[in-house]
Amino acid sequence: MTVTLLPAAHEPCQAFATVIAVTSMEADAPSSAEISKAFAEGRADSLAQAYQRWSNLVFTLALRALGNRADAEDVTQQVFVSAWRGRANFDPDSGQLGAWLTGITRHRIADRMTARSRELRNSEAAARLAEQRPTTVLDDLTIDRVLIADELEQIDDPRRTILKLAFYEDRTHPQIAEQLDLPLGTVKSHIRRGLLHLRDRLKEVTGDETSR
């Protein structure tokens, strides 16, 4: 490709400045896929990006399972530390980092539950429980709900606002249209598309049922 420099005839400086501005700014906007790739490559800032993107998800899953903030914080720390140290085991081609972190979270929660039951060895029933590592400590319904809340936050406006009004605040479609000053058809379309998007993202993160 050849670039020819022309004499400044029609405000070329302004156009040039716009291009530079857009380029430099878009470089600062990692998507989930970009974070996953950078993480697999071990790029230094990718752990911070992964933490920013998924720490609420990991922490909320741990909190729901363990019912205790201190334990949930410990598990969250373990998940990100072990994920970073074991990043060589993460294959971005087989799924996104969010799914992988969710899997690690489930294992760390199971470990914590096992440790808890060991601490209760004075009871025979608890001892039996300790030997038997729990296979599912978080039910799939809870995981799905937390994942949906997490994915919903990632959706761009106006769709996110519309979905939150519809799902969280039980507004009718006409009420949302009035509140946001949008055509009713637009509101309905966003809700349909949003529902399909959430379904797609959920499938991507949870994978097929056999991996659960």
Binding site: A29, N56, F59, R85, R192, L195
Partner: protein, 244 residues
């Protein structure tokens, strides 16, 4: 050859009580794939309507993680910069550095350099009968940009749930698209969307994390086409800057 039902149609049936029409019911009875998709969508909808909530770990957890990893031999090169925001947010939100425009930002930075007028300090305002009082930390006017019409106000509130921005507007005509409230960084490079603004009734928006301290002080209301593109349209209508 079997034609499957359109996803959009299945989503509509999942959302509306009416359900499928006659031919639709026939197809669903004979097509396990479409029936399964409809069931999936209904399940996602039920889960979303259960109002799932996200919790956030405390801000110091990130420090603990980076400390633990930097103690690890061979990992000493890992010193991730602290997230722009996120861990310290009361409720999970998008990262503020995710949406960017071009010229609008350069204009915003230039605006930030000369603006600052119109800032004042208020007292206490009651949001509603049952809601606790929020402290008004600053109240500014939003002025129309060159060639635009409209006006507005933005009040910076300190509520129990964190910083909030109460935005009102007048003279914004109902046209195609929607109005969106942004907080733009005075560096002219970063911005965060607060949400959709109804120009008639205004709105109160949660300010994510500590972004104000990071320089996101320019309050901007843009007119956005409903084109699915989350980037700022560069069509800013009214704007003001919060005092530092």
């Amino acid at each position: 050859m079997t034609r499957h039902l359109d996803d959009d149609v299945l989503a509509q049936w999942a959302l509306e009580d009416d359900g499928p029409d006659g031919p639709g019911t026939d197809h669903l009875q004979s097509c396990p794939q479409c029936a399964a998709t409809l069931a999936e969508l209904k399940l996602v909808l039920a889960n979303a309507r259960s109002k799932p909530r996200l919790d956030s770990p405390p801000p110091e957890l990130w420090t603990k993680i980076s400390d633990e990893l930097s103690l690890d031999p061979g990992q000493s090169d890992v010193a991730p910069s602290a997230p722009v925001t996120g861990p310290d947010e009361p409720v999970a939100r998008r990262s503020p550095a995710r949406r960017f425009g071009g010229r609008a930002l350069a204009a915003a930075a230039a605006f930030a350099a000369v603006a600052g007028a119109g800032a004042g300090v208020g007292g206490t305002v009651l949001l509603g009968d049952d809601e606790p009082a929020a402290i008004v930390q600053a109240a500014i006017k939003l002025e129309p940009l060159e060639g635009k019409t409209g006006a507005g106000t933005a009040d910076l509130l300190q509520a129990a749930a964190g910083g909030q921005l109460k935005v009102s507007a007048s003279g914004l005509s109902a046209v195609q698209g929607f109005y969106e409230v942004w907080m733009i960084n005075t560096d002219g490079k970063r911005m965060v969307s607060l949400g959709v603004l109804n120009p008639g009734s205004g709105g109160t928006f949660q300010i994510p994390g500590e972004i104000l301290a990071q320089g996101y002080r320019i309050v901007d209301v843009s007119l956005e086409p409903d084109d699915g593109n989350p980037v700022h349209s560069r069509n800013s209508i009214i704007r003001g800057i919060l005092p530092s």
